[in-house]
Amino acid sequence: MARRKEAPEASRLKCGAGARSHAREARVRAIFIVSGCFSLVVMALIVLFLFREGIGLFGEVRPWDFIFGKLWYPTYDPPDFGILPLITGSLLVTLVSSLIAVPLGVGAALYLAEVASPRVREWVKPAVELLASLPSVVLGFVGMVVIAPLMQEWLDLPTGLNIINASMMLALMAIPTIASISEDALYAVPRDLPEASLALGATPWETLVKVTIPGALSGISTGVILGMSRAMGETMVVLMVAGGAAQIPDLLGSFPGFLFESVRPLPATIAAEMGETPYGGTHYHALFAIGMVLFFITLGFNLLATWLSKRFQQKGAATL
């Protein structure tokens, strides 16, 4: 406000309104900064708390034994704090659920963006997104009460609460995320690129595979990773449906029979055991350490999503 210094009277007369709106802008800015910082600070505090409570475990259990120990018997005497079965449980349900959710989610996005008439799109897209608003406990309930008994009866299994059941329910949660983000990405491919392809005598299918999908790959991969990280962090469904057995399924020996084994993913372990453990004990610290592991895994997913979306962004890459 150099001008105001030179002639305070004149400028106050002339830009009275301007000065007021400047003050208001500064206030609005301050509000934004505070709200931005608020979530940042809260986030930092949560991470700090998580680490403070979790790091205590490593005085008693070596990090290596914690991560790669094959036995999780926290209440035995002496207790075992090996979370490898929990990690494999989490990875397995995430992997299997993405094997289901990625083709269905991307397929739905392709259908919506390329095949469906505007009227169908208008109806189906909100319906898919509505699926995302289903509370996870409802999905868990469906898996537990509907799918599990059916599966147990039809396939003559000891339990219907297993990897495949949990994966199907998680897939239902991931599909809307994947479909919705992928569809936006496909829709955002500039119309003139597929047009150029068609004008060169490409069929609609060739155009889709060679131009439209590569153009949307950045967004599609973001959607896939976010869908997967959602499945990884999801607690209620796996708590209710995955069976809860802290064991490492025999992957190769019983392929694909391991799909029907029960597992105990990381978030389910925390949710199930936190209420029953005395404050400040080794078990208590171990659960926080599990939280740390989960935090790093989801952080990894998010970094991967950012990297992939950069990697496939067709700025100068030109490798596709």
Partner: protein, 273 residues
């Protein structure tokens, strides 16, 4: 008055229909075109487009030039709700009446768009896109075709060392020439150009105009332009459209010196449009 074009080929008698003894590649007969069911965009158009000539389509904005141009490679089919009446003959075959596959048609009738639209791929892969669709995967043949197309589009010298760099790193004018090369790599018979220089600076425009002059030797070119000087410089024939109708079409030299319709004269002298 606009200067008389320097590039008009052999002088020919100024008859009313000088096309009689020339070879017709594209012929439009009693054509009506509708957007959205019944919004008439073109009405009762009759026109012949001659082999190895550059035909310019001029007229005020919204008169239907782009719509008309996109009829020749059936790009209007992509817009839902459009309808064509009448005939468009390509080498004597009605491209709307017969069971001609638009995909085959578009390989024979190439198109360059108003805005340069290279794929976000390498320069090489842009040019090789069409031939690869046709199943050409022999590396030597492909290399040769890419080189030839880029040379025809007067771009080879500028890009021969960066063929595997992204096409998006090129300037606008280079991108547009790349799009021309990409269309030429399909070895089309006809090249449609919709205001190919409207997004370019004067130097790039001059490049492309020069190029169009040379393409005439091997291809039949139909070009939409808003620039009267450009039409005068590059074309052999000029068609003037107004409000969805073809007002008149003739040798470019005649259109620009002795137009038969007052509307045409007003337009080319800049009194409206």
């Amino acid at each position: 008055m606009v200067e008389s074009p320097a590039r008009v080929a052999a002088p020919s008698p100024p008859t009313a229909s000088p096309q009689e003894n020339e070879e017709t590649v594209l012929e439009v007969r009693r054509l009506n075109f509708y957007y959205d069911g019944d919004a008439l965009a073109l009405s009762d158009i009759n026109m012949k487009i001659l082999r190895h000539r550059v035909t310019a389509l001029i007229g005020p904005s919204g008169c239907g030039k782009s719509t008309f141009l996109r009829l020749f490679n059936r790009m209007n089919d992509l817009i839902p709700g459009t309808r064509v009446e009448g005939q468009v003959l390509f080498e004597g075959v009605d491209i709307y009446g017969s069971d001609l596959d638009p995909v085959d048609l578009r390989r024979r009738v190439g198109m360059v768009f108003q805005k340069p639209n290279p794929f976000p791929k390498s320069i090489y892969n842009n040019v090789a896109y069409g031939p690869r669709l046709l199943g050409l995967c022999d590396q030597t043949a492909l290399d040769g075709l890419v080189e030839r197309s880029l040379k025809q589009a007067a771009l080879w010298n500028e890009v021969k060392d960066i063929l595997h760099h992204s096409a998006l790193g090129l300037s606008g004018g280079q991108q547009q020439r790349l799009c021309i090369a990409r269309a030429l790599a399909n070895q089309p018979e006809v090249l449609l150009m919709d205001e190919p220089t409207s997004a370019l600076d004067p130097i790039a425009t001059a490049h492309i105009e020069e190029l169009v002059g040379e393409l005439r030797r091997d291809y039949t070119v139909v070009i939409v332009t808003h620039n009267m000087q450009q039409a005068a410089r590059v074309s052999d024939e000029t068609a003037f459209f107004y409000m969805g109708k073809l007002v008149e079409m003739d040798k470019t030299s005649l259109i620009f010196t002795r137009p038969r319709h007052a509307q045409t004269e007003h337009y080319i002298t800049g009194r409206f449009g």
